[in-house]
């Protein structure tokens, strides 16, 4: 929004001398130029976005396989819609990190604000700190791993995919879930409508073990998490369930 109407000029900066790393500075470039430059980079490029200062919409809609670092705190929709890059944010992120992510990874070294990983179809969003309200809302097949606590209404209406919470889960966890599955290492503070705690089986333990290995969240014990999934009573409207809606 802040750079509407600016013309993208393609790659805005050459690799730094003596290295193959590309550096793009938010202090010098509007968002559209940064995203345009990122899109033009060949697969395998290492790239750093400096001085993000909470800038929104960084690294969105990328399909190339970049090794991308955002060196600081990033704003809304970081990495959203992408399918390819491995993104690391050296700081915290604003709303909707990895919204509608299709593939690739996003690692957040700090915490995430609301709606982390909303509607993500694929890929992995790993948040080392906590995630605020509604993480994994409407998840459609992606994976959201939260090292710390998750805020209220996590996984609301999540349809497919996995949400792993290393810390505690806030109130209303898994409200109106479809087929997404939630694993919680810490304590629960109330389930949402139609969510239930289920028996943990070997496949669950294996899935969590793989995620722990992938994320490095080794404070999570795969054999000792709670599995939360849909009780499937609200899939089709039934007047007997009216009060539960």
């Amino acid at each position: 929004m802040d750079e509407v109407g600016r013309e993208a000029r393609g790659p805005a900066t050459a690799p730094a001398a003596g290295s193959d790393q590309v550096i793009l500075s938010c202090a010098e470039l509007p968002t559209r130029e940064i995203n345009g430059a990122l899109r033009a980079l060949p697969d395998g490029t290492s790239v750093v976005i400096t001085e993000p200062r909470g800038r929104h919409n960084l690294a969105v809609g990328l399909t190339n396989h970049l090794d991308l670092t955002i060196a600081g705190n990033s704003g809304y929709f970081t990495g959203g819609l992408s399918e390819g890059p491995d993104i690391t944010v050296d700081g915290f992120v604003g709303w909707s990190v990895g919204e509608n992510l299709m593939g690739g990874t996003i690692r957040v070294r700090g915490s995430a604000s609301q709606s982390a990983g909303s509607s993500a179809h694929g890929g992995l969003i790993a948040i080392e700190g906590g995630a605020s309200l509604r993480a994994g809302i409407s998840l459609k097949g992606g994976t959201v791993a939260i090292g710390g606590d998750a805020g209220a209404m996590c996984a609301f209406m999540a349809q497919a995919g996995i949400i792993l919470i290393g810390g505690d889960a806030g109130p209303g966890l898994g409200d109106s879930l479809y087929e997404a599955v939630i694993y919680v290492g810490g304590s629960l503070h109330g389930l949402g409508a139609d969510a239930q705690i289920e028996e943990l089986n070997d496949d669950d333990v294996l899935a969590v073990k793989r995620l722990v290995e992938l994320t490095g969240f080794d404070h999570i014990d795969p054999g000792n998490v709670k599995r939360v999934a849909s009780a499937r009573t609200l899939y089709h409207f039934d007047s007997a369930n009216f009060a539960a809606y």
Binding site: G54, G75, F92, S113
Partner: protein
Amino acid sequence: MCGIVGLLIRDPAWEPELGALVAPMLSAMGDRGFDSTGIAIYRDADPGRCRVTVHRRPGLAWSAVTTALDAGVGPGTSLVSDGDIGALSSPAPLERVLSLLAGLAPAVVVAGFGHAVEVIKDTGNAAAVCTRYHVDRRQGYIALGHTRMATESAVTAVHSHPFVPAADLCLVHNGSFSNHATVRRRLEADGWTFDSDNDSEVAARYIASRLAQGDDLAEAVRWLTKELDGFFTLAISTADSLAVVRDPISCKPAVVAETASYVAVASEYRALATLPRIEDARVFEPSPEEIYLWTR
């Protein structure tokens, strides 16, 4: 959308820089609402004097205001004008000054009043309003600002935030209330009058009504969260405090940065990123329904 910024200075050494710190914050929130912009600035009261900020109708001579006040309360009222906004300082009782100014309406409209606060609000985007009224040069210890994207009532200076329902009490709001008409009717029945048909003004008057009944600010805000229904991040300032609260669903954003030198709140982190030593601040999001209150 709408944007909110608030800044409470804890280290008095920063008070001369209040405007310079808050103007970039407000401008950073300019693209959350460019219909109108407002900011309340609190600086130490001058003993025995009240402050009233007024808008004049373009073309009205400021001398018409000072002459009317001199005639009503005697000499001693000063006026510092900046375009069509004038900051009055008077040794007369605040109620008397306000009553005389009411007689000059609609050519003169009161934007803010109290003993510590001055309120600048006008249509236009944040950067333009900050430049027009030299916000970066203002000094003080609390600033509370708002950038408005109007959704439910007209775009005028009167409809702009902050709303000032009582002396030194200011409120800014990002969101919308669904039962504001009901609460307004109740307040009107109790004798409260309104400057506009804006929903956020109802929240401001509601807080004022609770304070008038003897609540402290935290209690008044707690009642507001029970009685007003809708989406809100609210920031409220008094002569010595800054409070923030969000509704239970918390669809409207807020970020707080706290250091030994200041407490800052904004709709987005972008607005905080320009503050000194922000990298050392404790940055967090206010939890739903929790009342945050910082005192000078």
